[in-house]
Amino acid sequence: MKASKTIKNASRFSREITLGIGLLIILATLAVVAPGFYQAQPLLSLLTREAPSLIVACGMAWVIICRQIDISVGSQFGLCSVCAGLLAGMHWPIALVGICAMALGALLGWVNGFLVAGLRLPSIVVTLATMVTLREGLRWKRQGEFVTLPDTVQWFGFSQQQGQVTIIVVSLLVLIILAVTARHLSLARDIYAVGSDAEAARLAGIPALRITCFVFVLLGALTGLAAILNMAQAPQVDPKTGTGLELKAIAAVVVGGVSISGGRGSLWGVFLGLLLLACISPALTHLHVEAYWERAIHGGIILIAVAGDRFKQGKENS
């Protein structure tokens, strides 16, 4: 019984370690079979392309840790992107556009949060409804037309490389801040508590409803930020952008070891989970494998991840 503490500490990062090993295996395989994968510019591009997803996945992780789910995040992303694009098109300064996008995201998140926490509705149903409504509203508004951005928006007016590095750095900063926060902020602890048992948390004097609402707002604001980071990568905004983002984020979160029933998980795991999923597609391209396999492999990774959890837990419990 006394030994359990050290074991627990070692096993606290077991998911991260497993994921890290999995990632290493893939990278090592690529190094041997398709060394072409390791080229600075394509790798930089890959990371840049995944940066927005990482930010959204971090926000989603908090929502799931709080035992909620948000499947409207892809629609929010699309709406934020288009609105930001329109504002940028009116030559607003990019910083202001970013703030507006985050504010819009936060507002959309707040609507979800209000419906979930304020009216105590199940989040999966609420966000299903808002997903459909937002996406459709956007479609109606844009009719599929791209938003063309002024030249200064791409890469925030920097050179391409600087822009890419900026985007990656921003997303990593968000990750680090949130991950450190998760461990050290008492607010974060409260989120874990609410996810673990909302009623018990309320009885412990934690404002459970406000916290539930907060995680949605946080996710919304991060989605707005992600939309900006995505927008800065191209001179046009596709109003369909963000389709399927919710599945990608949820998959990364789940593979990263966050329990879908709330209360457990770390953001480092989510980071590794996202990287693992993200490198499947280029890996297949480099290995000249049929693209059809990509999602099947994603599905398999998700299953293995949750099954692995289960197996570990089972061993601990019995």
């Binding site: 409260d190 673990s196 048992d197 018990a200 009885l203 209360g263 457990r264 601990e316």
Partner: protein
Amino acid sequence: MPSTLLQLSGITKCFGEVRALRGVSFDLQAGEVHALLGENGAGKSTLIKIITGAHLPDGGSITLNGNLLGPLNPAFARTLGIACIYQQPALFKDLTVAENIGLRLEARGAFKKVDWVGQRKQAETLLQLIGADIHPDEEVKELSMPEQQMVEIACALGAKARIIIMDEPTASLTRKEQELLFKVVRKLRTDGMGIIYISHRLEEIFALSDRVTVLRDGESVGTVRAGAVGEKGLIQRMVGRELAASSIQKNFTPGAIVLELRNLTCKENGTKNVSLEVRAGEVVGMAGMVGAGRTELAQILFGLATPGGGTILVNGKPTEIKSPSDAVKCGIAYVPEDRRRHGVMLEMAIQSNISMASHGRLFPGGWLHEGRENEEALRSIRELGIKTSGPLALANTLSGGNQQKVALGRWLATKPRVLILDEPTQGVDVGAKLEIHKIIRELAASGMAILMISSDLPEVIAVSDRIAVMRLGELVAMLPADATQQEIMAAALGQSVL
């Protein structure tokens, strides 16, 4: 010549690294009440879950009527005539009482037709038999804990089982319901059934049981006739040492009024016109029948229900308490009665559980300080005698009583001015109970104002400085500390004593 119904030998069970049972042997005769006794976490609930098939043992054998049993599961155990009232009611919240009873009692079979009429009749009969005033069409989630317990008892009774297991069935029952239950149990015994009875209340064990098996740290320390060893003997077996005399020092020096209620009324939960004051250093005990509305009063004070009228004054200032966080800010702490559901976060470390309500005090600025948290947790573990591997262990590895202590520890860590305890020793073993009583008095002595809701009259009398009695949402009597049990009961039942 009584026949042996059930024989367990050498049962072992581990949960991870926790060895809950280490080779327990146990037997049950037909026509006896066999009590299981032990401190919190001794392994009683685990043992009976093995009998009902809810857990699989790691080792040992189970013999039923002389036949060795293979691996059990709850469905199989039921067909073998084993019925159980678990410590935590295992009812279906969304279904009605009648459906719950029907589900448990009907023979299994996927394609059987549900006999709605018969099921309802049976439910009515059973509820009448145990004297429960519960409507069969009520949904279980509308019932209070004791009412749910009564439904559980009705289920076990209706199962016509040969072996009935009761895990702390009286923990939340009042005297009257308890007497009814005892009558039922005695009748079952004369009908030749075997009953395993778990309780922390020694007087029940003496009143009811034929033999007692005492468990300590997952091991059996022997089976005895209850009368043969006496209370002292049993306690000694349980805790492995002599227990200090159970008298508590009440040195109450009245301080300022910390909490004052004036005509507090709430239509929603039936609280009517309650006026009450609690002084610093004072323990006000709160007695009443189940459903008297004591929990409801506490909920108003803790911001879980909104009062319709009247005022709450904290330190003489009128205060509005709209949510638990408001209450915490006012220095009010509330240890709820249903600790399993509302008391502790089972998935979280003990340490986090204990610091949970005191983030503001422990971590000004919102930055967690692990050292401080750890210190706080270690202190609670030490002071409250929580049995655990350490502050980082998860709360769901603790036994019920130890979880209760964690819940208490959480609120003590907030350094409250007003502490509301709802059934603080429900399901807590004798040793720990004494500890908790002592702690309550110490807290009072340190200047806290304490409101203690309890259905355990000796406890109320032993610990309180004054005793408030509630009935149907009203405060009907305020008795001095030396009131007798009869006086309190009379007030609670609405007979005039004043």
